[in-house]
């Protein structure tokens, strides 16, 4: 086997794809923004050349599709050049969304594990709960999110918790499904062994079912943390767009600030990537502690 090289095996393929995507993006920006330039020129009664169109499409104030460097500049401006406490700081908005995401993810993961434990250990819960768990995900979150916000507001709960609960609503599902499978993953022979020791169900759970389920848990946590973020963003849309990445998206679309929308989108994507990466690292660390082959 040849030795793994960071440049050849990691950097090169990834950066090639990124460069191709950026190139496609620039071309698309020119095509999508050109009609506006032609209209403007036509209205002014003047002719506009191709090179001028290209130059102008790179720097429109409200482009249909902003050019990559415009988005980068916007992100730079709203993260580095603004105080974190400022309402114009993207980091401030990202933190608002992140805090709701983490709270919702925490509740969702705990709820998912608890439901899975109940479903695995109790036949009645298995029969009665699982259909409802699945049905809960067939309701579009966009429809149910405003209800949750409004209802909780009516009973005096506002701010972070309603958004977090929408995250919970999305994120508990993969955890339940993954953990039910994980807790049922021990082989018959391993369960028989516990039976010959006359082990209690609690002992069987902690010494066999729980460790067996770890790979399933982390796989579903990766999905759960990503959709928790989606939940928090969706939860910010009906709140009147006060703060958070969802608010930035909504405000951007109200005022045609496409650059702002794209900047918020990239921030959300980066946030999701970091969250999934952290869960991935925890996964590796736990499996390593459990003696997995290096």
């Amino acid at each position: 086997m040849r030795e793994e090289s960071f440049f050849r095996d990691k950097l090169l393929p990834i950066s090639t794809v990124v460069l191709i995507l950026i190139a496609i993006w620039y071309v698309a920006a020119i095509f999508l923004n050109a009609p506006f330039e032609r209209d403007t020129a036509a209205r002014a009664g003047s002719e506009i050349g191709f090179s001028e169109i290209v130059r102008n499409t790179m720097a429109q104030e409200r482009p249909v599709l902003p050019a990559p460097h415009q988005v980068v500049a916007e992100i730079w401006d709203t993260t580095v050049n603004k105080a974190i406490t400022s309402k114009r700081s993207l980091i401030y908005h990202a933190w608002i969304t992140l805090s709701a995401t983490l709270v919702g993810f925490g509740i969702g993961a705990a709820l998912g594990v608890l439901l899975a434990v109940g479903i695995v250990h109790n036949r009645a819960m298995d029969r009665s709960l699982m259909p409802w768990v699945i049905a809960s995900q067939t309701i579009p979150i966009l429809a149910i999110a405003p209800m949750i916000i409004v209802v909780l507001n009516a009973v005096g709960i506002a701010g972070l918790l309603p958004k977090a609960l929408i995250s919970t609503y999305l994120s508990f599902f993969p955890v339940v499904v993954g953990m039910v499978k994980g807790l049922r993953s021990p082989e018959t022979i391993q369960l028989d062994l516990m039976h010959t020791y006359n082990a209690s169900s609690a002992q069987t759970f902690w010494k066999l079912r729980w460790p067996s389920s770890m790979p399933y848990l982390f796989t579903s946590l990766k999905v759960a943390v990503a959709i928790s973020l989606v939940g928090a963003i969706v939860g910010e849309l009906p709140t009147g767009a006060v703060a958070g990445l969802g608010a930035r998206l909504l405000a951007g679309s109200y005022y045609g600030q496409t650059v702002q929308i794209w900047a918020a989108l990239f921030m959300a994507a980066a946030l999701a990537a970091v969250l999934v990466m952290i869960v991935g690292l925890a996964h590796t660390a736990v499996l390593k502690r459990m003696g997995a082959k290096a």
Partner: protein, 263 residues
């Protein structure tokens, strides 16, 4: 129940019928057997003869549908609750996230032994199966034979006088198997355990056992019980003696007789 006090396992007219979608299957019918304390009993027969099922009935992993069985004078369930036996499965069934010593500690943790006691027993049983120094390894770092020895150590770690072994060496090659058979006999001599041993192999059964139970399928039943005349002290070379070959011959005859009807 009519079982004398020295009897570790005593079965009377035992039967077990599985209800399957193809109709009932007679896994065991009319099994009468006594296993005395200190015996090494082998169960031999073709697939489907119920030898594993019988072992699982002793272990309370299957419930008999007729007849009676006593383990240490109790029902199998009571015996299991009293942790009367150690069970060695066909596969080692070691937990991959536990090191070898943690695997051996598993039954000890469940049965509430103290930490110091666990440590002493792990060391003792590892030595008993010649795995001293491998306690910190994970199962995947060991060969198949070593894994199976670790699983025997796990079954020996607590104070059960009865060892139930379900084709423990079936998946291993001949050379490793010979070696482990020899070690198992030494271990049996040192620990004074009663052993019930399921196998496919005639030489293995004859070499190891004081009593050989020959079984046949459809319906699963006992066709012959052979008391071995070999001495308890058995070097590997004993397998070339006329006495050994004669017992092996009788086992083979018994197996053939059990098979003749379905041809």
């Amino acid at each position: 129940m009519t079982s004398n006090s020295a009897s570790v396992v005593s079965a009377r007219d035992l039967g077990l019928t599985f209800q399957t979608s193809d109709g009932p299957v007679n896994a065991l019918t009319g099994v009468n057997l006594d296993v005395a304390k200190g015996d090494f009993v082998s169960f031999i027969g073709p697939s489907g003869c119920g030898k594993t099922t019988f072992l699982r009935v002793i272990a309370d992993l299957e419930k008999p549908t007729s007849g009676a069985i006593a383990v240490n004078g109790m029902t199998p369930e009571e015996a299991r609750r009293h942790r009367a036996y150690g069970y060695v499965f066909q596969a080692a069934a070691l937990y991959p996230w536990r090191t070898i010593e943690k695997n051996i500690a598993l039954p000890l943790e469940i049965m509430g032994y103290s930490k110091a006691e666990r440590k002493a027993r792990i060391e003792r049983t590892l030595e008993l199966v010649n795995l001293s120094g491998f306690g910190k390894k994970y199962p995947w770092q060991l060969s198949g034979g070593m894994q199976q020895r670790a699983s025997i150590a796990r079954a020996l770690a607590f104070d059960a006088d009865l060892l139930l072994m379900d084709e423990p060496f079936g998946a291993l090659d001949e050379i490793v198997r010979d070696h482990l058979n020899e070690q198992l006999l030494k271990l049996w001599a040192r620990t004074n355990k009663t052993i019930c041993f399921v196998t496919h192999s005639i030489p293995e059964a004859v070499y190891l056992s004081t009593k050989i139970v020959v079984m046949s399928p459809r319906p699963g039943r006992v066709t012959d019980i052979i008391e071995s005349t070999l001495p308890r002290e058995r070097p590997l070379g004993i397998r070339e003696t006329p006495e050994f070959l004669e017992i092996a011959h009788r086992v083979r005859e018994g197996l053939r007789a059990g098979h003749s009807y379905d041809e």
